[in-house]
């Protein structure tokens, strides 16, 4: 029961993350690609209620950030305060009006999670990046596990030459030098790939490359399940293959399916970093958690700007929620 108590929490966290991703244009205060060249690596903006004179303001406000005189870091310019506005309006480059949940008046900026090396708002990038990372992870997981489950079950259930063909090709897939194949894929594709195409490519590549490992796992389970006495009995009563798989064999694999899903989904979010490096993922300036985390590969970013770790924390939270979810479902499944 203790495990079940975590279910609402995990579900709520995952739902919140996905809803936030979908509502990114509204929730984020800025365009995720908007650069502020005077504000690289600005720390998170502090939101104040009490000003320098000790007066309490009914509406939270921020100060404008300015470079410190020695060129190292930032300080607040306390001469003027800028109240935080709800439902702030602005216009994008093409001239269309947009509404954001909150914002401040120019020239002040509100960077609740700091800014990156180009002075772009980390919060806006995190929210927009979640759209790509969360959904790419989710769809790629569904694709690779779906394919792996289908082929693994077929191989395990029918055995003999079907099994041999499928499992040898699985081994071939595991043994292929993927890095070089991906180089080749990049060479064949046109250089200009739109964000939508990049997203599809990402999902397809991950899903198709990684079906072999789950397929081997599912085959093992199906192999032992089809020899169980109740399966043999059902077969004796004349049950069809499809019925047997659906009614008796598939349910045995669902626990593993969920555990695997929880394990690989966060891995696939990270796989995007590698693919982006090879020019196959989402490229600048479109944010994704993968390319945001890639900034941490630089030593100076790693040691100097803690807010650059935020996509990593978000990824950790999402992974934990997925894991809790799968554990609950797994236990519920075995209790049945």
């Amino acid at each position: 029961m203790r495990v079940h108590a975590r279910l609402p929490l995990a579900l709520a966290a995952l739902t919140a993350a996905h809803v936030a991703a979908l509502a990114a244009p509204f929730l984020s205060p800025y365009d995720p690609t908007e650069q502020n060249r005077t504000l690289p690596y600005a720390p998170p903006t502090r939101v104040h209620m009490i000003d320098g004179a000790g007066r309490l303001h009914w509406r939270p406000f921020v100060y404008r950030m300015a470079r410190r005189g020695d060129g190292e870091g930032y300080e607040e310019d306390r001469r003027r305060s800028y109240p935080v506005l709800l439902l702030a309006r602005d216009v994008d480059l093409a001239g269309a009006a947009r509404v954001h949940l909150f914002g401040v008046e120019e020239p002040a900026r509100i960077f609740l999670l700091g800014s990156d090396g180009f002075g772009r708002d980390q919060l806006s990038r995190l929210l927009h990046g979640a759209r790509i990372s969360l959904f790419a992870g989710l769809i790629a997981t569904a694709l690779s596990l779906g394919l792996g489950w289908l082929l693994g079950t077929v191989a395990g259930y029918y055995g003999r030459w079907v099994d041999s063909v499928l499992m040898r090709s699985a081994e071939l897939f595991l043994a292929l030098p993927w890095l070089y194949l991906l180089f080749a894929v990049r060479a064949v594709l046109p250089l200009r790939v739109s964000s939508g195409q990049a997203f599809l490519l990402l999902v397809l590549l991950i899903g198709l490359v990684d079906w072999a490992r789950p397929a081997r796992l599912f085959r093992g389970i199906v192999l032992s399940a089809r020899e169980r006495s109740y399966v043999l009995a059902a077969r004796g009563f004349g049950a069809s293959d499809l019925y047997l798989i659906r009614r008796h064999i598939a349910p045995q694999t669902f626990g593993l399916l969920l555990t695997q899903a929880a394990l690989v989904a966060p891995q696939y979010v990270l796989a995007e970093v590698t693919l982006s490096f090879l020019g196959l993922g989402v490229s600048e300036p479109t944010p994704s958690w993968g390319n945001m985390l890639a900034a941490l590969q630089q030593y100076h970013v790693l040691v100097s700007y803690w807010w650059m770790w935020v996509p990593g924390l978000a990824l950790l939270a999402v992974s934990l929620a997925y894991y809790a979810l799968s554990e609950v479902l797994h236990q519920a499944g075995s209790a049945e």
Binding site: A94, R192, V193, P285, Q298
Partner: protein, 569 residues
């Protein structure tokens, strides 16, 4: 000549033999003998053979073990006598006579004479050896002829006069004939002097000689007792007993090892790591910003002749790329100051042409600094027939102007530069996509398949002299990046650059050469075949105790005067 005056001749009994020797006396701070210096290499040296070495790690090591006839002082960028104590040029500029120092010995104790010099150039010129330096010795289509006049005199003859030919001698390591003649005769020279060769079979004229090599870990050089320089009070150089080259593959790992005190010198630091080190040092370290080096980064458009049928979309875009006004508009839109601040934290300079302010002798100071002006860019484009609709730039036929920029994915700074360019051009209504790709794929696209719109790269020549840039600017040059393999100059300004570059090559008057090369820079700044971006500062560091540390923007930035480095107490 400034440096020639500095090098005083000094007669004295050589420490290891009865011959009196022509030693070179240096003028810098007199130091203390002893100690070891640790330096990290990013990759493992491939060879110790000066004839075949091309990778920078091999050259870093070989540079400490070998010496040349005439040397370019890395600080003044002028030539100074080295193994040759003097030289003279014939009046037609085709014949150089060099006088060797007397009584010098290789690091194994064997004496040096003119036969070794003749043998060395024979090795570099032998096509079987495939030396990358061979091309430098082929002037006017004919290889140089090197002859022995007597034991200490050599004649060096070239087909046509060649400006600053004495600079050629720099980095041609003189080889020991007694150790390599057999390998050369049998055509095995490229296989000689590998990393597994016993130290006793390798000898050079540099300040250090090989002691030991542990694959994948370290290479140790020890003091050469026969070295040919002495300090101001006549004590033999070098001061250090040992130089240890450690293998540390990434820059970040090198920074961590340097900070931990495991290495003593670091060069080619990124601005960010330089800032981190400067913040954490506390007086133990000495970090120096040498100002811009010779490296220049640039954006260029694909102007190659494309094979018909393939790459049609690029061919269509070339209608924009080939217009000088289009390239000028792109250049005027770029926020180079922003690049300097965001990518290099202020440790770089914006460039107007390909010659950086680090090149003290050749920079054309009359060129105005690159100015950013969106208004000028819009004006240029409007007059070239471009127009705007819904905020996007369109060409005369109404199609939107969009292109991709490829760059090396492993180089974070370049990817960041491209990202800034992308954002700048968005202000102009241009849609640009940045495609970071793996470096070999990038070079393949630029040099072989020509399947790219625009690319962001950087070049940096080893020497400040324009002769090192011939391959970039001649229209048939191997590195004429934007339009390779031209049988004749495609544009009038490329033809003019060809003429100017060829003329400066055979002009012997230095100020006349400068005038010619100034014009080349002006043509580049106007026509922008390469749109110059920025030149990063050369950033180096060492321990505060290291004496005679005089880093330079020329290669090798920190080890070039390894013979004079010493540890203060």
């Amino acid at each position: 000549m400034l440096a020639a005056g500095a090098a005083l001749l000094c007669w004295r009994a050589a420490a290891q033999g009865p011959d009196p020797a022509d030693l070179l006396r240096t003028e810098h701070e007199v130091g203390r003998a002893g100690g070891r210096l640790v330096f990290a290499l990013r990759t493992e040296p491939k060879t110790l053979n000066p004839v075949t070495a091309v990778d920078s790690a091999s050259r870093d090591v070989i540079g400490r073990m070998a010496a040349d006839l005439v040397h370019i002082d890395r600080q003044t960028q002028q030539t100074t006598p080295a193994l040759a104590k003097s030289w003279s040029v014939s009046s037609d500029g085709r014949r150089y006579t060099l006088e060797l120092r007397r009584g010098l010995r290789f690091s194994d104790g064997h004496p040096l004479d003119a036969d070794d010099v003749v043998f060395s150039f024979q090795c570099y010129l032998d096509e079987r050896n495939g030396s990358s330096q061979r091309d430098l010795l082929v002037v006017g289509g004919k290889p140089a002829v090197v002859r022995k006049l007597d034991t200490y005199q050599i004649a060096f003859e070239i087909e046509q006069p060649y400006a600053a030919a004495e600079r050629l001698f720099d980095s041609f390591a003189i080889l020991p004939r007694h150790l390599l003649a057999k390998a050369q005769q049998e055509g095995r020279l490229p296989q000689a002097w590998t990393l597994s060769t016993p130290p006793a079979e390798i000898a050079g004229l540099g300040p250090f000689r090989l002691r030991s090599y542990v694959p994948g870990d370290r290479l140790v050089l020890e003091r050469n007792p026969y070295y040919w320089k002495v300090d101001g009070v006549g004590r033999p150089l070098p001061y250090l007993d040992e130089i240890v080259f450690l293998l540390v593959p990434s820059e970040d790992a090198q920074v961590i090892r340097f900070k931990a005190g495991e290495t003593d010198l670091i060069s080619r630091l990124s601005a960010e790591n330089f800032t981190v080190l400067a913040r954490e040092q506390g007086g133990r370290l000495r970090l120096e910003d040498l100002g811009p080096g010779l490296e220049y980064s640039f954006l260029f458009f694909n102007l190659n002749d494309l094979p018909p049928g393939r790459l049609d979309t690029i061919a269509r875009k070339q209608a924009w790329f080939s217009q000088t006004a289009f390239r000028q508009a792109v250049s005027a839109t770029l926020d180079r100051e922003g690049m300097v601040q965001l990518v290099y934290q202020g440790r770089a300079v914006p460039l107007a042409s390909h010659v950086t302010p680090g090149n003290k002798l050749w920079l054309n100071r009359a060129l105005p600094p690159p100015a950013r002006s969106l208004a000028r860019a819009r004006d240029l484009l409007a007059r070239a027939g471009f127009s705007w609709k819904d905020g996007t730039l369109r060409d005369g036929t109404g199609s939107p102007v969009e292109f991709t920029i490829v760059t090396n994915a492993a180089n974070t700074a370049r990817v960041h530069l491209a990202t800034i360019i992308q954002d700048d051009l968005r202000q102009l209504g241009l849609s640009v996509q940045v495609v970071p790709i793996e470096n070999r794929a990038l070079l393949d696209r630029v040099f072989q398949s020509h399947d790219y719109d625009a690319a962001l790269m950087a070049l940096g020549s080893g020497d400040a002299d324009p002769n090192g840039e011939m391959n970039v600017w001649l229209s048939n040059g191997a590195t004429h990046l934007w339009h390779l393999g031209q049988s004749r100059p495609a544009t009038s300004w490329e033809q003019e650059i060809d003429e100017l570059m060829r003329r400066q090559l055979v002009t012997r008057d230095a100020s006349e050469r400068k005038r010619l090369y100034d014009r080349v820079q002006a043509l580049v700044a106007e026509n922008l075949p390469l749109i110059p971006l920025v030149s990063p500062d050369v950033l180096v560091g060492t321990r505060a105790r290291l004496g005679n540390f005089r880093p330079a923007v020329l290669d090798h930035n920190v080890l070039w005067n390894a013979d004079e480095l010493f540890w203060r107490p």
